[in-house]
C-alpha cells in the first residue's frame, strides 16, 4: 500500500523531471519555427513566383534575376547605427558610471548564484556516496544563505536593462536587432531556473532519502543546466561587443543567430567565467562560515563552521589554480583576433592594471596558503611539515615581488628619463614576461604543495613503497622547479620570440603535471593510510581573516578584470562596427577605475551582509510574550 503510493509519487516527480528538458526543447523549437515563419527570407520566396513586372516598351534592364542569397542580403542588411553625441541622453550623471555599477552588481550576484548550486550539487553527491549527513546539511546551508541572492541578481539585472535602454538606446536597439529572438529564449530560461531553484531548495527535506534523493539531484542538475545556459547566452553579448561575428564590416547581420553568438572569444570567456564563478562563490560562502565561527562560542558549532570554512576555501583555491591558464587562453584568442586589442590590454594604457591584478592574486594566494598552514594545527601529524612551510612562504613572497615588477609599459618621455631607459637597469630583466611566467608557475606549484601537505597532515601512509613514493614526489617538485626556471631563463632570454612563447606552454604543462602527479601519487599512497584524529575548531581566530581577505580580493579582482575586458574595446560599443560617441568614450584613469571598483565592492559587501542576515532570520523565532502566556493560563 505504502509502497505503491511511494512509486506513484516517484513516477510523477520523475515524469516532471523528464518532461522539463523536453519542454525546453519544445520552446526552442517553437521560437525557431516562429522566426522562420516571419523571417524576411521567406517573405521574399513567397513573392518570387509572381514573376517579373516590366513596363511596356521598356527594354528589360536585367533579365537574369539576382541569386536568392544576394536578394535576401539586400533586404536584411541594416548597418549598425551611428549615433552622434547628441543622441545619448544626458541625465546629469555619467551614464557609464550608472551602467558600470549596476552591471557589476548584477554580475557579482549572478556569478554567486550560478556557482553556489554547482558545488552544492557536488557536495550533495558526496553526501550520497559517503552516507554522511553532515555533507547534506552543509549543502543545504550553502543553498539557504545564497537563496535571496537570486532575487538580488534579478533586481540588479532588471535595473541594468532599464538603465541601458534609457541611457544607450541606439546601442540597445542594435543589439536587440542582432540577437533578435534570443532575448525571448533568455527571458524564458528565467522561468525554468526559478522553478528548479525553488523546488530544489524547498524540496530538500521532502526528497531526502532513497530514490527520491536522485529526483532531487536531477532537479539540481536541471537548475545548473538552466543557470549555465543563461550565463553563456549573456556571455555571447559581451563577446559580440568585443569581437563581433556574423555581421559584416558595417554591422549588418549576415549570419544566423548561432554565427552571431559563436564569436572567437565566446568559449574562452565561457570557460574563464565558469571557473572564476566557482572560486568566487566558494570564497563568499567561506566568509559566512568564518563569521559564524568567530561569533560562535559553542565548540560543536565552532567545529561545524570551521569545517564549512575549510570546505569553502578548498573549493575556492582548487578552482583558482587553473584560472590563470584559462586567462592565458582568453588573452591568446584576443591577440589572435586583433593584435591591436591585445596590445591595448597588455602593453598599452591598460597594462598598469596588471600590476594591480598581480597584487590581488598575490593576496589571494598568500591568504589561501596562510589559511592552509593555520589549519594544520587541527591535526597532530602536521609537525613534520613546519620547516617546509617557511620555504613555501619565502618562495611565494619572492615570486610575488618579481611578478609585480613592471615592464612592458608605454612610458612617457619624462618617465623614461626618470628610469634612465625604457627598462630599469637592475630590475629590467625581472620585469619581462619570462621572469613573470616563472614567478606565476612557481607560485601555483608552491600553493599546490601547501595544499598537498595539508591533505597529508592527518595521515600516515602504510603502503610498503611509501619511501619510494615520497622520493618520487620530491623529485617531481624539484624537477618541475628546475624545468620551469630552465625554460623561462633559457628560452626567455637566449632564443627568439617564437620559442619564448612556445616555452611558456611547456611551463604550464609542467605545472599541471605536478598537480596531476601529486593527486595520483597521494591517492595511491594514502589509500589505506592510518588517519590521525582531526580536531575541527582547533584553529586560531586570526586564520579566519584569511577567509575574509579571499572574497574581498576576489570581488575586487573580478571588478578590475571586468573593467579591463570592457575597456579593450576603447572607443567602440561594438568593436570595429559601432563607434561609441558618448561623452564617456575614453578610458578613465586608473584612480577613477579604482574608486568605482571600491564602490561596487563595498556595495556588494553590504548586499551580501543583508543576504546572510535574511538567511539567519529564518532560523530565529520570537518567543511568545510572557504576559499573553500567563493570561492564557489564568
Amino acid at each position: 500500500m505504502k509502497q505503491t503510493e511511494f512509486i506513484r509519487r516517484l513516477d510523477v516527480s520523475r515524469l516532471t523531471a523528464m518532461l522539463f528538458p523536453l519542454l525546453v526543447l519544445l520552446v526552442f523549437g517553437l521560437v525557431d519555427a516562429a522566426q522562420a515563419d516571419v523571417g524576411m527570407g521567406n517573405a521574399q520566396e513567397r513573392i518570387t513566383p509572381i514573376g517579373e513586372v516590366r513596363l511596356q516598351g521598356q527594354p528589360p534592364v536585367e533579365i537574369a534575376a539576382k541569386p536568392a542569397a544576394i536578394q535576401e542580403q539586400e533586404v536584411e542588411l541594416r548597418a549598425a547605427p551611428r549615433p552622434s553625441r547628441a543622441d545619448y541622453p544626458d541625465i546629469g550623471v555619467s551614464s557609464r558610471a550608472i551602467v558600470w555599477v549596476l552591471g557589476q552588481m548584477h554580475l557579482f550576484f549572478g556569478a554567486l548564484v550560478l556557482a553556489v548550486p554547482l558545488f552544492v550539487l557536488l557536495i550533495e553527491l558526496v553526501g550520497v556516496y559517503t552516507r554522511d549527513d553532515r555533507y547534506d546539511d552543509m549543502a543545504h546551508e550553502f543553498m539557504k544563505i545564497s537563496l535571496i541572492g537570486f532575487s538580488i541578481t534579478a533586481i540588479f539585472g532588471g535595473s541594468l536593462a532599464l538603465a541601458l535602454f534609457l541611457l544607450y538606446p541606439d546601442l540597445m536597439a542594435y543589439l536587440m536587432h542582432v540577437f533578435g529572438s534570443q532575448w525571448l529564449v533568455y527571458a524564458g530560461l528565467f522561468f525554468f531556473e526559478s522553478f528548479f531553484l525553488y523546488v530544489y531548495y524547498y524540496g530538500w527535506n521532502a526528497l531526502r532519502y532513497g530514490n527520491l534523493k536522485w529526483v532531487h539531484l536531477t532537479l539540481g542538475l536541471l537548475l545548473n543546466a538552466s543557470g549555465l545556459t543563461i550565463m553563456v547566452m549573456a556571455n555571447s553579448w559581451a563577446t559580440f561587443m568585443m569581437a563581433p561575428s556574423g555581421v559584416n564590416e558595417v554591422g549588418a547581420v549576415v549570419g544566423n543567430i548561432w554565427e552571431v553568438m559563436k564569436g572567437p572569444l565566446w568559449n574562452p570567456i565561457n570557460l574563464h567565467r565558469f571557473i572564476a564563478n566557482i572560486a568566487f562563490g566558494g570564497a563568499v560562502v567561506g566568509a559566512y562560515a568564518a563569521f559564524k565561527f568567530l561569533s560562535a562560542k559553542d565548540p560543536v558549532k565552532r567545529a561545524h563552521y570551521d569545517w564549512m570554512g575549510y570546505t569553502s576555501n578548498f573549493i575556492a583555491i582548487l578552482a583558482f589554480l587553473p584560472l590563470p591558464f584559462a586567462g592565458y587562453w582568453l588573452m591568446a584568442e584576443i591577440y589572435a583576433y586583433s593584435q591591436q586589442m591585445g596590445i591595448t590590454a597588455m602593453g598599452g594604457i591598460l597594462a598598469w592594471l596588471f600590476i594591480v591584478q598581480a597584487v590581488l592574486i598575490g593576496t589571494i594566494l598568500l591568504a589561501g596558503n596562510f589559511y592552509l598552514w593555520s589549519g594544520m594545527s587541527r591535526t597532530d601529524g602536521s609537525e613534520r611539515y613546519k620547516g617546509l612551510i617557511k620555504v613555501i612562504a619565502l618562495v611565494l613572497v619572492v615570486c610575488f615581488l618579481i611578478w609585480v615588477t613592471p615592464h612592458t609599459l608605454i612610458l612617457s618621455a619624462s618617465e623614461i628619463s626618470l628610469l634612465g631607459g625604457s627598462h630599469h637597469h637592475i630590475l629590467g630583466p625581472l620585469g619581462i614576461m619570462p621572469a613573470k611566467n616563472i614567478a606565476v608557475n612557481l607560485m601555483l606549484i608552491a600553493t599546490f604543495l601547501s595544499f598537498q601537505l595539508y591533505r597529508r597532515s592527518d595521515k600516515v601512509a602504510t603502503v610498503s613503497w611509501a619511501p619510494m613514493g615520497n622520493a618520487l614526489m620530491i623529485a617531481v617538485y624539484i624537477g618541475a622547479v628546475v624545468n620551469i626556471i630552465f625554460l623561462g631563463v633559457y628560452y626567455g632570454y637566449f632564443t627568439n620570440t617564437v620559442y619564448k612563447v612556445g616555452s611558456s606552454v611547456a611551463q604550464v604543462v609542467t605545472t599541471l603535471l605536478v598537480i596531476v602527479f601529486g593527486l595520483v601519487i597521494d591517492a595511491l599512497m594514502f589509500k589505506k593510510a592510518k588517519v590521525l584524529p582531526s580536531h575541527w575548531g582547533r584553529i586560531p581566530d586570526r586564520a579566519q581573516y584569511a577567509l575574509f581577505a579571499l572574497p574581498i580580493a576576489f570581488t575586487w579582482l573580478m571588478a578590475l578584470m571586468g573593467y579591463v575586458r570592457s575597456s579593450v574595446k576603447t572607443h567602440w560599443h561594438v568593436y570595429t562596427v559601432m563607434k561609441d560617441n558618448s561623452p564617456d568614450n575614453f578610458i578613465p584613469a586608473i584612480g577613477y577605475a579604482g574608486n568605482m571598483i571600491t564602490l561596487v565592492t563595498v556595495l556588494f559587501l553590504l548586499c551580501v551582509l543583508f543576504m546572510f542576515w535574511v538567511a539567519n532570520l529564518s532560523g530565529s523565532k520570537q518567543r511568545k510574550p510572557e504576559t499573553a502566556l500567563a493570561g492564557g493560563e489564568a
Binding site: 591591436q340 570595429t576 575614453f586 586608473i590 579604482g594 571598483i597 571600491t598 559587501l605
Partner: protein
C-alpha cells in the same frame, strides 16, 4: 569589539588598500581619437601650420624616413630650409617637372616623388631616376588635399619663409583632416582581402622590389621564398631587427606587428614563401 565591527573593518581596510595601489600608478586617460573638424571661421594660418606640423610627425609617417643622418633614409626635411632647397632644385638642369615656384615644387614632390630625385637618394640602381617614396595622396598614407596644403604651409613657415598656400576654401573644406590624436588606438582600417592588397596597404613596394633582386631601401623579394622559411619571413615582418639582411640598414618599420591583422600577416607570409 564585536565580531561584526572587526570583520567589517578588516574587509574595508583591505578594499582601501587595493584602492591605494591604483592611486600609486600613473593616472593616464585613453582618449578616443577625434575626427578633427577644421572650423573655417576660426582657422588661422598659425593653427593651419600647427596642423601641418602634426601631420608631418604623425599621420603622414614622414619621419619614418626623413630624419637627420645617420638615421635618415631620405633627405632631412625638418633640418633644412625647404624653400631655399626647392628653389635650388628648380634651377637644376636635371629638373623635369612642371612646377614654377617653391610651393608647386613641394606639392609635386609630395604627390609625384619621382619627378625630381635628389642626388644620392634615388632607388638603388636607378641612378637617381626613381624615387623610393610613395605618393602621400595614396594609401596607406592617404593625405587629403587640405592636409597636404597644411604640410606645405608648415614646411614654408618653419624656417621663417613666406607661406603662399591659401587657407582651405569652403568647398575643399571641413571634413578633411582626421588626424588621429592617438596613433595606437586609432581607427581600424578594413583588413585586406588578398596578399596583393595587403602588400599595397603596407606599402612594402616602396622599399622592396617585388619582381627583381634590386636593392632599394631593403632587399629585393623576387626569390625570397627560397632564402627564408615561413617562420623567418614572419619574424622579419613582426620583429624586423631580429635579423637584418647583410649590407642593409635596420630601416624597416617596427610597428607591423601592431598594425597588421593576423590574416594579413599570414597572407603576406604565404605569398612571399611562394616566390622562389
Amino acid at each position: 569589539m564585536s565580531v561584526l565591527a572587526k570583520t567589517l573593518g578588516f574587509s574595508l581596510g583591505l578594499t582601501l588598500l587595493f584602492t591605494l595601489v591604483t592611486y600609486l600608478l600613473p593616472q593616464i586617460k585613453g582618449e578616443a581619437p577625434v575626427d578633427k573638424k577644421v572650423d573655417l571661421g576660426s582657422l588661422t594660418m598659425e593653427s593651419f601650420i600647427v596642423l601641418g606640423d602634426e601631420i608631418f610627425h604623425n599621420k603622414g609617417t614622414c619621419t619614418l624616413c626623413h630624419q637627420p643622418a645617420p638615421l635618415g633614409r631620405a633627405p632631412d626635411i625638418a633640418g633644412e630650409d625647404m624653400v631655399a632647397l626647392a628653389n635650388k632644385h628648380l634651377a637644376d638642369e636635371r629638373y623635369q617637372g612642371d612646377a614654377k615656384n617653391a610651393e608647386e615644387y613641394i606639392r609635386e614632390s609630395l604627390i609625384h616623388p619621382g619627378k625630381y630625385v635628389v642626388a644620392g637618394w634615388g632607388k638603388k640602381g636607378s641612378n637617381d631616376t626613381e624615387s623610393p617614396m610613395p605618393g602621400v595622396d595614396k594609401p596607406p598614407i592617404q593625405l587629403t588635399p587640405v592636409e597636404i596644403d597644411a604640410v606645405i604651409a608648415w614646411l614654408q613657415a618653419k624656417d621663417g619663409g613666406e607661406v603662399t598656400v591659401p587657407l582651405p576654401a569652403v568647398e575643399a573644406a571641413a571634413e578633411a583632416a582626421s588626424t588621429a590624436t592617438t596613433g595606437d588606438s586609432g581607427k581600424a582600417p578594413a583588413p585586406a582581402a588578398t596578399a596583393e592588397e595587403a602588400l599595397a596597404k603596407y606599402a612594402c613596394a616602396s622599399c622592396h622590389a617585388m619582381d627583381s633582386n634590386d636593392a632599394l631601401v631593403g632587399p629585393g623579394l623576387v626569390d625570397i621564398g627560397s632564402r627564408l622559411s615561413k617562420e623567418q619571413l614572419r619574424q622579419s615582418i613582426v620583429d624586423p631587427n631580429a635579423v637584418v639582411a647583410e649590407g642593409f640598414p635596420p630601416a624597416m618599420p617596427l610597428d607591423f606587428a601592431s598594425r597588421m591583422t593576423v590574416s594579413e600577416l599570414e597572407m603576406i607570409v604565404n605569398y612571399l614563401a611562394e616566390k622562389k
